[in-house]
Amino acid sequence: MMLTVLALTPLVGALVLAFWPRSADPRSAKAVALLVSVVALVLAIVIALQYDPGAGYQFVEEREWIPAIGAHYALGLNGIGLTLVLLTTILTPLVILAAWGDRLPDPSRTNSYLAWMLALEGLAIGVFAATDVFLFYVLFEATLVPLYFLIGAYGGAGRSYAAVKFLIYNLVGGLLMLAAIVGLYALTAEAGEPSFLHSDLLGLEIGEGTERLLFLGFFIAFAIKAPLWPLHTWLPDAAASASASTSVLMVSIVDKIGTFAMIRWCLEIFPGASQWASPVVLILAVVSILYGALLAIGQDDLRRLIAFTSVSHFGFIILGIFAFTTLSTAGATLYMFNHGLSTAVLFLVTGMMIARRGSARISDFGGVQKVAPLLAGVLLIGGLSSLSLPGLAPFVSEFMVLAGTFTVSRPLAVAATLGIILAALYILLMYRRTMTGPLAPGSEGVRELDRREVAALAPAVVLIVALGFVPQPLLSVIEPALGPVVAAVSDGDPVPTHPVEAGASEGAHE
């Protein structure tokens, strides 16, 4: 029941907020939203504390839902799901706190703005916990609704175009996935009882051609969501039109559904087809890394820049997943968490800059460091984590992805490593143009962060630093969950050519 309660908490909160009297003090609605999200966070922490890393799926719930087609209401968490549920519940309170001062197109609709955010949180938790592919699909598509409204109704200029583009892209993906799900139904019905349960699908016998088709149906949906080059163009538009908080929810949480689902539904259910597709996917991932980074360098809009850095980072995540080694997949999963944090910091802090300056163009800023050193410092930390500076959280995951990939394919890993130069370019050029030099006209009004904003940013910054040195709590949860996945798609990790027993040659050179 724990997971149902966890997912329902924000959904009920959203319902309450939807009917919250508009005449009431807007602060009361914000307080309710924050309270609900904090309760969800506490629940998630309780779940995490009870979680046993070695024991597979936990907090399992399973009920018949639509017996005619074999759909179940089935929830359960493994280490990967737990990591992402934690990410979701950690970021939502921060996002709500940061959205406190958002200037909406229609200020009287703050309640519904917050309600949609909570609804999105609840649905995202459901997606990460669903162990029935039909339930997963329903929730996966349901997340589009709040996000569509968050972009389309509460964004900035060009919001309706961006919202429609977002929706159409994702619906196309969803349609393909629906077709694949119907295919799965047909297969399971043929084999006996129709069932969409993860555990039943694992053992399903599928012919080679069918498996590849079904895999593609799922994979394209997830690749659009993630987004993988060349299916990425909806993301920059959506990020440039959405409010900062919405962008965080979209990029840090909802887009992770794509990469999360690649592991759970592509690798596990269609191992053969995943192996078949992996050479192409790996190349696309490397293209994403370099292409996203190069495009980020060329942007003048802060939000589009961050969106393109995310395309690059998602490339790393997908690279790690499809390299099929324990190290790289564990790194990729950790990367999902870390990227969520660092992108959240970047989107939120640039959102604060944009709100103060009234423009998102990098060329409209300059010398901000002088008037707002703390803001500049947070931007720098966010940026440095985005370029994977050792000591900050993303480095560990990026290195794991690269090192794991390296054991499988050296050329690809080396090409991906070039991304770290480009990352330095896009972050440092952006920082230099906005924060250093003489104060640009118009930038005087960029105030220092206030207490509420510090409260919204500090937890993420602290986590980024802490996880940079102590990633082990998450890794120890993630890695056991990936054992079966990797075992399904590969014949075991490549072994070192000249293995050295740890400690055996301690001081061998002396």
């Binding site: 190290l327 794991m400 054991t407 000249h498």
Partner: protein, 624 residues
């Protein structure tokens, strides 16, 4: 005590964190906290060093583990730190020179409103640099490696309001990142080959792997070392880095951080021992840089850039020595230490001069400062004697040993190093003549004065070390001390007796000095001659041998145009494909719109027509 090596890092790190988090309330005393933290680390380092001295030679490497960093089934990295003969020397250099520079900065940065932040960054640098040298694992080393890069970035760009400083900071970080790619790939190769990245394990086992792998590792690490140590071809950032406050140039861009590449090569002795090719590359890089740096040093009028060119050149010596293998490792480190003393001394002296000249760095505006600034002159002069290798000074011993080792390895390399020594003498004498001798060429309203004692005391200490640093060589102490780390130096046949070589070097140095004295004894124009009026050598030197232009053509412009092209492609090509599809559908709908006339009869006709088609279809099916 030696197990507490992590404390060495923790103390300055805590200082940095304290100052950054405490905020403006600690403005008044922040610099004292930082200096105290650095000094405490020095004391701790000294205690550890003494303890090492008291141990048996084979018991002087102590590795202690603070905790686990990354732990997975296949990959395991611990925060492990090694105190041994090599790292303990570095600890003393970093914390000792670091503390002196902290003290100096109290005076130098006294009027800067962001002084607390400056000290926080300095402490951060010390912590990162200690991590680099103490690390027992390449990945932890890389953590320190990037940490010093970050501190360097923050400190070069400390005066962020100057666009040139911000640009220089970016350049330094990005060029270092190019080197970092080499480091990262090297570490990945270690993981793929050995399953571990522990420094001891890798260097112990590297002898068993194929020569290709060993060479690849050596070259990749060399790429990283080139970035950090400003060696050709990644040297261009160092001259720009002089935009940072002068204490930063002294600590980071002369004494410690830029020598990290040399440390890396010596620390990876196992890898370089296994690959002759990689060692040759190290030698070539070192030799080329040593000449290029000296060349640039001859042409620049900016006092800090002359010193920066000199730093490149001296690090070239160290690289060259490190590339010689066991024969040179100890001398590389020896020269690194003495260079740390005299170059820090001279940079701080230059800072003192700039302080007196209202932050003017152009030597053509100096002249005759020896009377105005006697202490600075005296200390700088001692540093000068040390760097040109005046007999008896520290630089004499350390450079001479490298030249000897180079001669023993290959005559031409040795001759190159000897020519470098002559050029060094030339450009340093030029600097001395233009700054301290000759007639006054001061700008109006400039009144040179000696710096306060908080700045001169560190100068005096460093000057003393510059003179006495050669004592490390007494009875080949440093060679014996480092032998367990660097390997035993075989005795090599020299092409000539040692005394002959020494005399030849001294003669070359004297020639360089004499030439410079004669050229710059007087009538130095106070504005630099135009590029067209100087020899092609000077012109190339002034433009840093056109490396920035080369980098521009090879890297900057391609990336810029590729970026623009891709931005265009993304909007027109990829997104255009999608929006184009949408547009086509829209146009098709426009065409279909014409059928909606609004006349009832046309709709009715449509219905009848449709019904007719259905009926005919049915008939066709049932009858046919």
């Amino acid at each position: 005590m030696l197990e507490l090596s992590w404390l060495l890092i923790a103390i300055p790190l805590a200082g940095a964190a304290l100052l950054l988090l405490w905020g403006q309330r600690s403005d008044a005393f922040g610099h004292l906290i930082a200096t105290a933290a650095s000094a405490a680390a020095f004391v701790l380092g000294l205690v550890m060093f003494v303890e090492l001295l008291g141990r048996e030679a084979d018991d002087r490497s102590v590795t202690s583990t603070l905790g686990t960093w990354i732990e997975t089934a296949r990959f395991h990295v611990e925060f492990a730190f090694t105190v041994d003969q090599l790292s303990s020397l570095f600890v003393l250099l970093i914390t000792g020179v670091g503390t002196l520079i902290h003290v100096y900065s109290i005076g130098y940065m006294a009027h800067d409103e962001r002084r607390r932040r400056f000290f926080a960054y300095l402490n951060l640098f010390v912590a990162a640099m200690l991590t680099l040298v103490l690390a027992a694992d390449y990945l932890v080393l890389f953590l320190g490696w990037e940490g010093v890069g970050l501190a360097s970035y923050l400190l070069i760009g400390f005066w962020q309001h100057k666009p040139s400083a911000a640009a220089a900071a970016n350049k330094a970080f990005i060029m270092n990142r190019i080197g970092d790619v080499g480091m990262v790939i090297a570490i990945m190769t270690m993981f793929a080959t050995f399953g571990t990245t522990s420094i001891a394990a890798v260097n112990g086992a590297v002898g068993d792997v194929s020569a290709t792998t060993a060479t690849a590792l050596g070259l990749l690490l060399l790429l990283g070392a080139c970035g950090k140590s400003a060696q050709v071809p990644l040297q261009a950032w160092l001259l720009d880095a002089m935009e940072g406050p002068t204490p930063v140039s002294a600590l980071i861009h002369a004494a410690t951080m830029v020598t990290a590449g040399v440390y890396l090569v010596v620390r990876s002795a196992g890898i370089y021992d296994a690959s002759e090719v990689a060692r040759t590359f190290v030698i070539v890089v070192g030799l080329v840089t040593l000449l290029v740096g000296a060349w640039i040093g001859c042409a620049k009028d900016d006092i800090k850039k002359v010193l920066a060119g000199s730093t490149m050149s001296q690090i070239g010596y160290m690289m060259l020595a490190a590339g010689l293998g066991p024969a040179g490792y100890a001398f590389a480190i020896f020269h690194l230490l003495t260079h740390g003393f005299f170059k820090a001394n001279m940079f701080l002296g230059a800072g003192s001069v700039m302080h007196a000249m209202d932050d003017d760095v152009d030597m053509r505006h100096y002249g005759a400062l020896r009377r105005a600034m006697p202490i600075t002159f005296a200390t700088f002069g001692l540093g000068y004697l040390a760097i040109i290798g005046f007999p008896g000074m520290s630089g004499f011993f350390s450079k001479d040993k490298i030249i000897e080792a180079a001669l023993a390895h290959n005559l031409w390399i040795g001759l190159g190093a000897m020519i470098g020594a002559a050029i060094t003498a030339f450009y340093m004498t030029r600097l001395m003549m233009m700054t301290f001798f000759g007639e006054r060429r001061w700008r109006d309203r400039v009144h040179p004065h000696e710096s306060p004692s908080v700045m001169t005391v560190p100068l005096i200490v460093l000057a003393a070390l510059s003179v006495l640093g050669g004592a490390l060589y007494l009875g080949n102490w440093i060679g014996d001390w480092l032998e367990p780390v660097a390997g035993h130096a075989e005795h090599h046949e020299l092409p000539a007796p040692v005394i002959v070589i020494q005399l030849a070097v001294v003669a070359l140095v004297a020639a360089g000095v004499a030439l410079a004295v004669w050229l710059f004894r007087s009538d130095v124009p106070d504005t630099a001659p135009a590029d067209t009026d100087v020899s092609i050598l000077t012109r190339a030197g002034r433009h840093e041998i056109y490396t920035n232009e080369v980098n521009g053509v090879l890297a900057v412009f391609p990336v810029r145009y590729l970026t623009r092209f891709l931005v265009w492609l993304d909007a027109r090509g990829i997104d255009g494909l999608v929006t184009g599809t949408a547009d086509r559908i829209g146009e098709a709908s426009q065409g279909l719109r014409a059928t909606q006339t609004g006349y009832v009869r046309s709709y009715a006709l449509g219905i009848f027509g449709g019904a007719l088609v259905v009926v005919l279809g049915l008939l066709a099916v049932t009858l046919g």
